[in-house]
Assembly symmetry: C2
Homo-oligomer: 144 residues x 2
DNA sequence: GCATGGTCAATGATATATCATATAGATGTA
DNA sequence: TACATCTATATGATATATCATTGACCATGC
């Protein structure tokens, strides 16, 4: 059935992409996982988010984000400063080492994306994005 | 950048779908995970596969499949019979309880898919599948 | 001020992802 | 037969996914 094949293809595409991407990051000698990189990127862009905010942005659970942040702190890619106005939170900041890592990953990610999207036109990408977003919306709508 | 947005959409679509699907299986009172269900389906269709074969079909690691099979055995959804001609392997068979579970999950999965694909035409699905397969191929090709 | 309810982060439990390795059995070859 | 090699499975280590819960803190109403 077509719909089953579709989710098969969806699963396959994302898994193969993640494997390829992680392999290339490893090969470049950069010690970071894709998920850690993603969270680090978000924090670099906006450094005043709660874990729940970050989780929403990267489609993860707050618990997953908490553990990823702990690893990033342990590895010195992030540092946490106390927030005077809210004792529950800390201000997360990307360290020098974190910046270096982000800069090192950047070209690898670009090359990964380019490789993954070989042969797809601008138009293809727009179509794909539109349809994928539609699926995401369908799955999020609470009705039924 | 468009390519980054694309992988964002891809990630989002698959994650939202998996969450919705698992939630609905849980709500139906069926005690199985999507990944276990997938492996169980494959074994029911072809019951003479090695773990590596199964892993390829579901885009997982052999180690992941080994652990999923162990859980399916522990929960009585699968049983393993010794294979006379190869002492390393066992013949995996879906039990009665496994069949019941598969039958119970079936309508939920169909309804999940229908919900996820609301508003997409046959044509959309074909396009989507074609483009996703292209990405998967791009990521698998060993060159570079 | 203070109780109540809400928010934030951390963590236990369980499942999965991945790599590397271990162990056992199978197979081919000298 | 003896050995090397290959294959199938299992498992340790680490990372992530998810739910549920806890504990700390905040904000509001009273």
């Amino acid at each position: 059935m077509l719909s089953s094949i579709l989710f098969y293809s969806l699963d396959k595409a994302i898994r193969q992409y993640r494997r390829m991407a992680q392999t290339n990051i490893d090969r470049a000698g950069i010690a970071i996982t894709i998920d850690q990189w993603l969270v680090l990127c978000v924090i670099q862009e906006i450094d005043d988010l709660t874990q729940t905010d970050i989780a929403e942005r990267v489609f993860k659970d707050q618990a997953s984000v908490a553990r990823i942040i702990r690893l990033l702190l342990e590895r010195g890619l992030l540092r946490a400063e106390p927030l005077p106005h809210d004792g529950r939170r800390t201000q997360l900041r990307v360290t020098e080492q974190g910046l270096h890592t982000l800069q090192a990953v950047e070209p690898v990610v670009l090359s990964n994306r380019a490789k993954a999207l070989q042969g797809l036109s601008e138009n293809d990408l727009n179509t794909l994005r539109f349809l994928l977003d539609q699926i995401a919306v369908n799955c999020t709508s609470s009705a039924e």
